[in-house]
């Protein structure tokens, strides 16, 4: 029975992953801000076959609350085999451009809070000598673009931070997985018209679980984003800066 901690458990991708883990009989500990939604999800996961579904209300940007949350998770589960960090927001780039406070807040939510949680989880798993730390970054972190560079900068920091953690923990039996979803049809992206590039949360969740099971380091979801981002990363800056991306 896998013991799984999910932070940002009410996000669509995290909930889809939790359902797939529940069907396997995993024990889960769910962390998010919205207590009512957490309770509804926990009850659902029990019906779907989860051995356990503990919950804890926490705002991920409240870094002072992280240590107690992890203690509670370890106490509830008896250790952590898999941690999925899935919380995040999609900032309004134009509003960020007009507000330093908003920009820093979004960097905090999507970047710094993740770094803080990953630091603690890495130490915990290093001490355990085992574990999988999976973090949802984004294709947006691969290159800065005018349409969402605040989000991209935060996710880029997460991606780079995880690279370092992976390098550090490779010899310690701990997997560090960077998940880079492309466009996913979730409430976070409800305002966008969906085209052929869009994936369902269930599909992305399947990819995350498969990547954890196979001890991968980094995964683009769906996989074709690896090729798209390879091209995007290699466009020379003097051309890239003139594109409307």
């Amino acid at each position: 029975m896998q013991k799984i901690l999910i932070i940002g458990a009410t996000s669509a991708i995290a909930e889809a992953a939790a359902r797939q883990w529940a069907a396997r009989g995993a024990a889960l500990f769910l962390v998010a801000r919205n207590a009512a939604k957490l309770d509804a999800i926990a009850a659902d996961l029990i019906v779907r076959g989860a051995a356990k579904a503990g919950t804890r209300v926490m705002d991920a940007t409240d870094t002072a609350a992280h240590a107690a949350m992890l203690d509670a998770a370890v106490a509830a589960l008896g250790g952590i085999d898999v941690a999925l960090i899935a919380h995040g927001t999609l900032p309004d780039q134009q509003a960020c451009a007009a507000s330093v406070e908003l920009t820093l807040h979004e960097i905090d939510t999507n970047g710094l809070s993740v770094v803080a949680l990953a630091t603690r989880l890495a130490n915990l798993m290093e001490a355990q000598g085992s574990g999988s730390l999976a973090v949802i970054s984004s294709v947006a972190g691969d290159r800065g673009r005018q349409s969402n560079y605040v989000y991209g900068a935060a996710k880029g920091m997460v991606t780079r931070f995880l690279q370092g953690l992976r390098n550090r923990l490779a010899k310690k039996g701990v997997q560090v997985l960077t998940v880079k979803p492309g466009f996913v049809d979730t409430p976070m992206t409800a305002a966008f018209r969906k085209g052929a590039l869009w994936a369902k949360p269930e599909q992305v969740a399947r990819g995350i679980i498969a990547a954890i099971d196979r001890k991968k380091d980094e995964v683009y979801l769906p996989g074709f984003w690896r090729l798209i981002m390879l091209i995007i990363r290699h466009i020379p800056e003097r051309i890239f800066k003139k594109l409307s991306l």
Partner: protein, 429 residues
Amino acid sequence: MTAAPLSAWGNLGWPPAAEVRRCGERGAPLPAVAGTLLPYGNGRSYGDSCLNPGGTLLAMRGLDRFIAFDAGSGVLACEAGVLLADILAVFVPRGWFLPVTPGTRYVTVGGAIANDVHGKNHHAAGGFGAQVRSFELLRSDGSRRRCSPTDNADWFAATVGGLGLTGVITQAELQLRRIGGNAIAVHNRRFTGLDEFFAANAEAEHAHEYAVAWIDCLAKTPRGVLMGGNHVDAELPAPRGERNVPLTPPFSCINGLSLRAFNAAYYGKPWPTAQTVHYQPYFYPLDAIGHWNRIYGPRGFYQYQSVVPPAAAREATGEMLAAIAASGQGSFLAVLKNFGARPSPGLLSFPMPGTTLALDFPNHGAATLALFERLDAIVRAAGGRLYPAKDARMPAAMFRAGYPRLAEFTSYVDPKFSSGFWRRVMENN
């Protein structure tokens, strides 16, 4: 950028809703909007009963969580946006099945209640609403009622089959039934002529929990295949993955020639008298082809589903099939079934004792609508009615004639709720 509009299954080009609001928490209040509201489940209603052109649609699929399951009694509590497909995926492997299921598993629980859907076991079990233990109804005044056949029974009766007009169903309790495996023992029997159908069907209803007939409505003498089924204690591998119609072709693939060829080939294909199959191809043959509605092209299609009382069933069904054959328009999804005597709980429930005929027609504009008028006259003379979940064109008078408890129902309609269908049959006359 805006989200793609929510559509109905018939693709008849209804105007979009002005706004879509997503429901994600069952405890949350309804959104405050200026115009009217209508819950939208998975969009499998064929016409405008699931649409609210110019108003607000409440997208209910976000409420897709199970709440509790009692493995002793088989009672499942779940949110209203859960698909029947989700229930089957989780509970069939544990030995439980839906007590009543329509011909697609891609409908929500809330939609199944709001349309009081029926299945191939209506003669034995009644409709979906008869198997619902309770649900919560949230009204625009903020009130929440637990409705069951005994608690708030009047609201229960108004909301089962109530087309989403009495408020939002947020959660429901369903009674699942035990099965000993995922397989169905099917008994197939060809018939020629309606007399043979009715005789064979009477036998099938006696021998089988499920019974439904496909008919070739283009043949001079109606002919078809009657498919009886029972659950059996056997496990079969799930069928291969679903196929998909990826886009709408620029014209309808369904025309007189393709229909005649399909129907002749389908009737003529080998029909083993007895076979054991996985439950999916028996109950949901069309679910294996994603977006099959697209084959009708950009103009879309109509479904015409009627029920006529037993006394008139033989004659009226014959007249309808003759009218369809004479029109040269027709359908490869023609389904004939008898409803049983178990009363439907809803004031506007479609099922009633008698014979139901369901046919799909490509939209050929005036010619198709003219055929429907001829069929309406037959159904009305027989004392029958049409199914709002399938309807995109019935005149107000036809609706009123078919639903004698309509006046009683209207007092339960939420003042903030409306639909394209509702305005069409209540206001435009």
